[in-house]
Subunit: 736 residues, 2 copies
């Protein structure tokens, strides 16, 4: 058994993140295109650097100005007498290449290209961007952008606002990476209003050179950063991203949550995405799979992004999903309970001992169950007692404190005790002070003094806690590897390569069977018979009842073509069926090359599932699992994963379908052989990774029997990728 070599693989052929040091911590910066005109972007960037309190040396470059903002100006970068770490380019796209060449000559270590007019506008822009990128890679000088807002590093050691945003955010433990520059301006404004700080703030623009991958790797090692937020429209290196994300989110030593908005979720959204950045958007289902496999928490909205990030900044994860709610109002207690349960949390049981303790501090009309209702006239003493008592409970993994601003509520004092007690506990506590104006003093105490997230609405607190619990579960999950089964790879390869050579889009039935056999899938006894006589003989050898199917590479949907006879009970019937079938289909499908019929042992009826493999142009081989029939076709109840899959992933894939209960057994049925399905998925994964010639593979159906009784491939087909050997080679290399 080999575990998948993720870390080294992820970075193979990619830039070393160390080189980003000059992007984030430059000792000197040349602002090329700095301007005196207050409405110019080059003015805004330079002013932001100056006003932000940059700790290094700034060199404005502008051939037409003597000074900018009181700082001596240079006609060109080469004129600067000192070494320049970072060049920021705010010049017309058509001059960028030339300017960048000059920067290289000057020996800059990194560049940020803020200017627009490149890939996103098409035409000439695409070419310039390509040339600059090639040059950058050749010289090992990383470039951020072009077409971006710039970047911000609030670390007091550098204090760099190299962006044209409206203001410098405050220092914080959250890093933000965005593929949309405009969104950055909004995010900065939200952050200002919601009192949220950032460690690093990066607008990636067109991602000509630096992508989310290098940034993630850098931020993984950044001591200022505890949580990483991303807004993405596409992934530049999805498979490498998966491996890298796993090592960031799942490693107990690093353990930095990654929260991502992936826009372009719907078909319409994806269309908008591609018209916007020319990005090749992959299927949303596969993005989901990839995020799940990488431990990336996918969120829908900017609001969620902030809600979660603030909670994760506390660096406390719940050890389970059992929540206690403390409230001074019944109605909001119910709403919070509803929300907790809706988002998958459990309501913790309060022990009798704790209830007895609560009775000492709360009035008789209080509720001592969960939610603990300290009643409308509660002041901070009751909140203090209740929170201390429930946090001591072994059955409580986390708490939500709800406050409504009632007549006697001493809001700031309550904030003070809640903040203090929460800070002393290793269980996460989220506060929801319901209101805006009257509660603002309390919210300020929580956020500023106790660095504790306070939510406006109970649903936000509940949803946030649920995501924290989900991440906690990810951290605690058993670590499994990718299993490597002993298979006959050569046999499969030979068949697949022959098909490629013969430029066939599909394997013949018996070839498909051989490939699956080589990879250890459970198959039923079967023979290919060229004519009806041979079919009858085959039936005798295998033993009736059998299934007779037409065999032709041109006929993929055999049932639709009338090419399947089920449950044929005697050899004579087999002869008749094969005869009729061959004659009829010869007429109805004159174009089809009929190889004969296959005669296969009739399998006992099991529960039908489908296993699929699809080679995605962006993601490489992806796997699909679902229940057969209408569950897949009508309910779309399927799960996806990017291959290769680990042992645990294979099991998660099965459990994640909505109709999973059917596999567990309903109406007194025994559970199905889940282990065997999982093994089939793992074998399929190995087959996919080792044989890039496969474009598509469907096992439909796989009959699954009761636990311990295995499963049988009933039908399968394999389509071949004839699009070229280069990609295949790449995928093969990826696996090795």
């Amino acid at each position: 058994m080999n575990s998948y070599p993720e870390k080294t693989q992820a970075l193979k052929g990619l830039m070393n993140a160390q080189s980003l040091e000059s992007i984030f911590y430059p000792k000197s910066i040349a602002v090329i295109g700095a301007s005196r005109r207050s409405e110019a972007v080059g003015h805004a960037v330079f002013k932001n650097l100056i006003n932000g309190g940059y700790e290094g040396v700034l060199y404005p470059v502008n051939p037409k100005a003597l000074s900018i903002h009181g700082v001596r100006c240079y006609k060109s970068v080469s004129e600067i007498p000192d070494p320049v770490d970072l060049a920021i380019l705010i010049v017309h796209a058509e001059h960028c290449l030339e300017t960048f060449r000059e920067c290289l000559k000057k020996g800059v270590k990194a560049a940020v290209i803020i200017s627009a007019g490149f890939k996103e506008v098409g035409g000439e822009g695409i070419q310039i961007e390509k040339k600059i990128t090639q040059l950058a890679r050749k010289h090992g000088v990383p470039i951020l952008g072009p077409n971006c807002l710039g970047l911000i590093n609030t670390d007091p050691r550098v204090r760099m606002n190299a962006s044209f945003g409206r203001a410098m955010p405050k220092e914080g433990r959250i890093a933000f990476i965005s593929q949309s520059g405009a969104l950055c301006t909004s995010v900065l404004d939200y952050a200002k209003g919601a009192n949220i700080g950032f460690s690093k703030f990066i607008s990636m623009g067109n991602k000509a050179d630096i992508t989310e991958l290098q940034l993630l790797e850098y931020l993984a090692n950044d001591e200022q950063t505890d949580v990483i937020l991303m807004y993405l429209e596409n992934l530049s290196h999805p498979r490498e991203m998966l491996a890298l994300a796993r090592s960031i989110t799942g490693d107990a030593k690093v353990c930095k949550p990654i929260l991502a908005i992936k826009a372009g979720r719907t078909a319409q959204g994806a269309r908008a995405a591609s018209s916007h950045t020319g990005a090749l958007a992959g299927s949303d289902d596969i993005y989901n799979a990839l995020f799940e496999q990488g431990g990336i928490l996918r969120v829908e909205t900017v609001q969620e992004l902030f809600d979660y990030a603030q909670a994760f900044s506390q660096r406390k994860l719940p050890k389970g999903s059992r929540v206690a709610i403390i409230t001074n109002a019944g109605g909001p207690g119910i709403m919070t309970t509803d929300a907790c349960v809706r988002y998958g949390l459990e309501m913790a049981e309060i022990s009798d001992a704790a209830k007895k303790e609560l009775r000492k501090h709360l009035p008789a009309t209080a509720s001592f169950n969960n939610p603990v209702d300290v009643i409308g006239d509660a002041q901070h003493q009751r909140y203090q007692a209740a929170l201390e008592i429930v946090l001591k409970e072994k059955t409580v993994d986390a708490a939500i404190v709800i406050l409504t601003p009632q007549a006697m509520t001493d809001i700031e004092e309550i904030a003070e005790v809640v903040g203090r007690i929460a800070s002393q506990s290793d269980k996460p506590v989220l506060a929801c002070f319901m209101g805006i104006v009257d509660v603002s003093g309390g919210v300020k105490v929580l956020e500023e003094r106790w660095k504790m997230p306070a939510y406006r609405f109970p649903e936000s607190a509940a949803r946030t806690l649920a995501v924290m619990a989900q991440y906690g579960e990810w951290m605690r999950r058993p670590r499994t590897g990718v299993r490597n089964f002993s298979v006959d790879q050569d046999r499969a390869r030979k068949i697949l390569r022959r098909a490629v050579r013969e430029k066939r889009k599909a394997l013949y039935d018996y070839e498909t069977r051989e490939v699956l056999e080589a990879y250890g899938f459970p198959l039923l006894p079967m023979k290919l018979a060229p004519d009806s006589e041979a079919a009858a003989k085959a039936a005798e050898e295998i033993g009736c009842p059998v299934v007779v199917k037409i065999s032709s590479p041109q006929i993929l949907h055999k049932i639709d073509a009338g090419g399947v006879a089920l449950s044929v009970k005697t050899a004579a019937d087999v002869r008749a069926a094969a005869d009729e079938m061959l004659k009829r289909i010869a007429k109805t499908h004159p174009e089809a090359n009929l190889l004969g019929v296959t005669v296969q042992k009739m399998a006992p009826k099991g529960r039908e599932v489908i296993l699929g493999l699809n080679k995605d142009p962006l993601f490489g081989p992806t796997l699909m699992f679902g229940l057969g029939g209408t569950y897949v076709e009508v309910m779309k109840d399927v799960t996806f994963r990017v291959a290769p899959i680990r042992q645990l992933s294979a099991r998660h894939m099965i459990r994640a379908i909505k109709s999973f209960k059917i596999l567990e057994g309903v109406r007194g049925e025994k559970p199905a052989d889940l282990e065997k399905i999982a093994e089939c998925l793992e074998r399929l994964s190995q087959l996919a990774v080792e044989n890039p010639e496969i474009a598509e593979l469907d096992i439909n159906p796989l009959f699954v029997y009761d636990k311990g009784e295995g499963c049988s491939v009933i039908d399968a087909r394999i389509l071949i990728d004839l699009s070229g050997a280069d990609k295949s080679a790449e995928a093969a290399e990826f696996r090795d």
Copy 2:
């Protein structure tokens, strides 16, 4: 065909809403329990009335004070020299009855009991509350409360803040009704922070007398109110509510949207609800059905409540679900598109003519498709042109305007043009100014000058527009009635009453069949045979193949008891099967009274659906529909309605299941006979309403054939309600 007489029925036996005039517009108020102590509730209420600028005369009543807040105090209500319209009671629960008696003697026209200590604390409190309510009803004096925050009427004609909330909200067109007093304090604070006004603001407390029903009826006629918001934990009169809500939400003349949070959605939430108010919570599915039938928009969170209410205050509904998005940022445009599609809106197509027009006003790099991207450096001129052009498009039903605060964005000017153009169009326009601080000036212009809702996050705007579209669709729906089929009611009644007399919990099979036959359900030829000989004879008459089933009122699950033989092909086989079955079951079920076997024509296989009827203690007869087998049992893919159902509702019930595609036909199947299923549901509805003796009825399965070919009841059972005739009488009356 009779249409259901909703309006008159809803109010039968309930208080006339006119009498609430003294609650909302009293000319004089006695505040009994007004207090000088600043921390007392009686102080807060009096102070709020004074400071709120009440237009009538206030009389503080307190035996121990000379004056309160400078106003002359009275020792008792009877001492007040002038007539008193409204009494507000803030006295200990044990004195409330006596005080209320005094009020009645004084001739007050209405009362608000703010005091707590009644039903919600149990014991003696329940009795006092009951007595007060009886007294109030006897004298026709409506009571709000007890155990409530009070009420607020911002109408300048009265300007009454009769609550102990922290502040008076500003005037607005939104009414809010809450079953949680504490939530009111938060809602007032949210409203203050979000600049939202109210027409009426009512805390219902324990709903001893006045419930949401009378309040809704009052607000339906209230000229100050355009939108009604509710926070509910239970419904006091669900069936009457349904009828009333329909007349408020669905009548083009009234057309006031009702938005409701129904807390206690989850089992755990419901438990919290019942420990909180002693309310009997009904099943959440039925609440959903009832809200849907009544046109009430069910929302999950307070945030949604506000988001939607502000938009509905504009009183413009989209004529369809096609939305145009205008944005100055690509990323947020994609996010908005994602959200629109997720919430069920469609992206409008922009015509070539409009694109041509757009090109005149926007730079070449703009996007002329939907979302229309006016590009980051856009100022108000571009927004103006783009919004004017898209709103003129016939394919556009509504627009969302997205703004990110970029360097050159003239936010307030943009707000001004967007507000103006939107006000001139009959299509709704929602603005999303993404940010908090920088955008606040623009938000103010939109909200205060143009009374236009502005959202922080694109998802809020999209979700709001989707709900508006949903409500528009409700307004435009075809109006259908409850069909009254010509049935043999007497025949069914006779059977059901006999079962009641004999105290049987279930009908015999042949009785069930007769009842269904009397109501015109499609049945298969069947005979009851007391022994195997008779069974064989019956089979000959009916024609094989047949199904043989055990017949015994004690055996409800025939398959589990081995009491079903399917597809029996000859009369001889029928004889053998019946013989074996009767002998075996006599042994395995010695307690069962075996009436023999039924012999039924074997139906051709159709698509299996389930029709159910359940008499709910709170909601009365409710109907269920779903696909058979695992779809119901595992996927819980069912829909509910409260009977009686209209023609349209029956069809919606069928279309609303997730697996509806299966009935439309998959893999080249023809669509199923949906009309016939709908008719069966309507017949079931009539059966339910006309026969309150039925506790439960399952038709499982109903085989449905292709369109035009009808359906067949394959199996059914009817359980009898033996809990008492009074309820039955009530339900029967309700229908007549």
